[in-house]
């Protein structure tokens, strides 16, 4: 039995593809789906919920692999905004560059951007891991709550603004830190964590070259003594 299925978006609609991925694919024995001619279409392979490899063969638009569970999605090109937004598990790999908000509010799983990611990469992330081979733009990991952002290149202005418990590792230059973010000393656990994520991402860097950024936790509480009478 053939375990690879091809979908040509020059002939079929994104809706047809997603319906297939949601309803016909699970349990069908297909292990790999190739998507031809993505041509910048949005919402390709969103809401997946099964263990399958999906290869998008070309550049794609916004919200690629949004809310992914279990699936391993690879984009052989660049992507627009919000790739792998709200990812729950599985993995999403972009062989090229990603526009804004890559991995936004991701709860779990691994997002790999082999090129650069634009601003707000990892914004509001809630437990996923993101590895960027290149650099990230401003306000990356803004209000990030949990998980790890590894940046092999440089980080733009206001990195980690209003961070909660997510951790950021940057190999290159940090343009500036955002409110409540601070640089901290790398510990052995950090080195292990970065090495592990780099290995999982297939990106060759030395974890000893990274800096750690985490929350200073000074924004966690308001003045509790404030008088609240109307």
């Amino acid at each position: 039995m053939d375990t690879v299925k091809q979908f040509d978006l020059a002939r079929l609609r994104v809706r047809d593809l997603n319906q297939y991925l949601h309803h016909e694919l699970p349990g069908s024995g297909i292990e790999r789906v190739e998507i031809l001619n993505p041509d910048g279409n949005h919402s390709i392979a969103v809401g997946l919920d099964c263990d399958v490899a999906v290869d998008i063969l070309g550049h794609a638009g916004y919200f690629i692999a949004g809310m992914n569970k279990l699936a391993a999605v690879t984009v052989h090109g660049n992507v627009g905004w919000s790739v792998a937004e709200n990812i729950m598990s599985g993995s999403v790999r972009v062989k090229g560059h990603a526009s804004e908000s890559a991995g936004a509010s991701g709860h779990g799983g691994l997002v790999v951007i082999e090129g650069d990611a634009s601003s707000r990469c990892g914004i509001s992330m809630k437990g996923c891991d993101i590895v960027v081979g290149g650099s990230v733009g401003h306000f990356s990991a803004f209000m990030a709550q949990a998980g790890t952002l590894v940046v092999c290149g440089d980080a733009g202005p206001n990195l980690g603004d209003s961070l909660y418990e997510a951790t950021i590792y940057v190999r290159g230059r940090i343009h500036s830190l955002g409110a409540d973010a601070r640089e901290e000393e790398m510990q052995s656990a950090d080195l292990e964590r970065v090495s592990g994520l780099l290995a999982a991402s297939g990106i060759d860097c030395d974890s000893r070259e990274f800096k750690r950024v985490a929350s200073a936790r000074s924004l966690y509480h308001w003045n509790a003594e404030a008088h609240q009478e109307y």
């Binding site: 949005h42 905004w81 437990g127």
Partner: protein
């Protein structure tokens, strides 16, 4: 001879303003509170119905049927939301409310055939199980937002703004960030949670269109998508929401409530619900989508008369938050526990307030067990008691609505129309675009 004591109070720097300045000087922190605007603004109270007489024929109030069935989300969804009454329960989070209350909302809504809505904290199993029709909110924070719950929803509500704080993010103070709330929101326990005011994965209306399509793709175009807006630039915002593909637009006026936000927001942002509704209708008319895109109005709806007036001005349904909480017992002087009424006035006093004046939802110390995560306080309102009270309230609202509709000669509450209304004040006439009572004058209309 003693000198007379002068007591000429300044109109601009009155005692209230001075108290505000002193407290600001003392605390160095702005005031945070719950509930909605306390200032008087033109409202549905300023309108009255011209019920039937010789020129209009009424329906028999106790015998003739008056339909209140309401269908929302007919534009794109394969499964529109079908409700028995046009009165829905607004989004209020688990976290701001106790789990008991969320369950009570679901039970009551199910009994009367309407919907309830999640809130900024995700969907709890209790509310999903108890709610026949549940609207799942997609908020900027995305706390607890996940595809499994998304697929369990009967509708999705993309929240862009809220009437109490348009342009502001959510807030949940540490007292309410319990272990369960913290886990659902992926936050450290006990922190003062301040959530984002902008969505993480889209910004402008062009992005919103693509975002809505993504949510439709994930849910296979099955369920309707609402877009909720705080009432500010209503005409423009409604048009953008329609253009972005909303099935239903929800407009929340400035009287809308919150569990916690800055007082400066509550009293000084947005426009009254009465002013917002006609603007939203005009936007739908301009876009030629009346009947295709449904409109829900919220913010200060309390009575069946409010509902009737909202429908007469063009809304397809209303949404209620604070009224629902009051029905459950909010601001009541006692709570019901172990088969008896227990006086709660001392607990109000500990918060520095009294029944009827409380807006201390943000403290988590709700004397009647509604806006709390405290395991002892939340026992003060069981799902059974809460559901019974709320069901009664919703039932009364619908009875009042159909009573007024029949008196206007309508066999369907959705047949109420602007022509059935006049205004008692010039301001209300101008905002609602209905004549001032006793005249044919609509201020601002040529």
């Amino acid at each position: 001879m003693t000198k007379p004591i002068h007591r000429e109070e300044s109109a601009s720097l009155d005692r209230r303003a001075m108290r505000y300045i002193r407290e600001a000087a003392e605390c160095g922190l702005y005031e945070i509170r719950g509930m909605g605007a306390k200032r008087a603004v033109p409202s549905f109270d300023d309108l009255v119905f011209l019920t039937a007489s010789a020129s209009r024929y009424p329906l028999e109030g106790y015998r003739e049927k008056c339909i209140s069935r309401t269908v929302l989300g007919t534009r794109y969804a394969k499964k529109p939301v079908v409700l028995e009454i046009p009165i829905t329960i607004a989004g209020m989070s688990f976290g701001s409310l106790s789990a008991n209350v969320k369950e009570a909302l679901g039970r009551a809504a199910t009994e009367v055939g309407t919907s309830t809505t999640t809130g900024d904290g995700g969907m709890t199993p209790e509310e999903r199980q108890s709610s026949k029709t549940l609207v799942y909110q997609c908020l900027p924070s995305r706390y607890g937002f996940n595809p499994d719950d998304l697929r369990k929803a009967d509708a999705i509500e993309m929240v862009i703004g809220q009437g109490a704080k348009p342009g502001g993010g959510g807030m949940l103070l540490g007292q309410k960030v319990s272990p369960r709330v913290a886990k659902m929101r992926t936050l450290p326990e006990g922190i003062d949670q301040r959530s984002a005011c902008r969505h993480p994965d889209w910004t402008g209306p062009d992005d919103l269109k693509i975002k809505l399509e993504e949510l439709r793709e994930i849910t296979d175009w099955q369920v309707p998508i609402y877009v909720k807006l705080g009432a500010t630039r209503v005409r423009e915002d409604v048009k953008l929401a329609v253009k972005a593909g909303a099935d239903v637009v929800v407009i929340d006026g400035m009287q809308g409530g919150t569990a916690a936000t800055q007082q400066v927001f509550i009293e000084n942002t947005g426009i009254p619900t009465l002013a917002a509704l006609p603007l939203a209708m005009e936007a739908l008319e301009d876009m030629n989508v009346v009947g295709e895109v449904q409109l829900i109005i919220s913010g200060g709806i309390r009575t069946g008369a409010d509902v009737a007036k909202a429908l007469a001005l063009g809304a397809d349904a209303v949404s209620i938050g604070q009224g629902v909480l009051v029905a459950l017992g909010c601001n009541h002087d006692s709570y019901f526990e172990n088969g008896r009424d227990v006086d709660a006035t001392q607990d109000y006093a500990k918060l520095g307030t009294a029944p009827g004046f409380c807006h201390h939802c943000h403290t988590g110390q709700c004397p009647v067990g509604i806006t709390t995560q405290d395991s002892i306080l939340e026992r003060r309102l069981t799902p059974e008691v809460g559901a019974r009270r709320l069901k009664n309230y919703l039932q009364v609202l619908n009875m009042e609505l159909t009573t007024l509709a029949r008196a206007c000669g309508k066999s369907n509450v959705h047949h109420l129309e602007r022509e059935d209304l006049v205004a008692l004040t010039v301001e209300a006439a101008a905002m609602a675009r209905v004549p001032l009572a006793g005249t044919s004058w609509i201020p601002g209309k040529l």
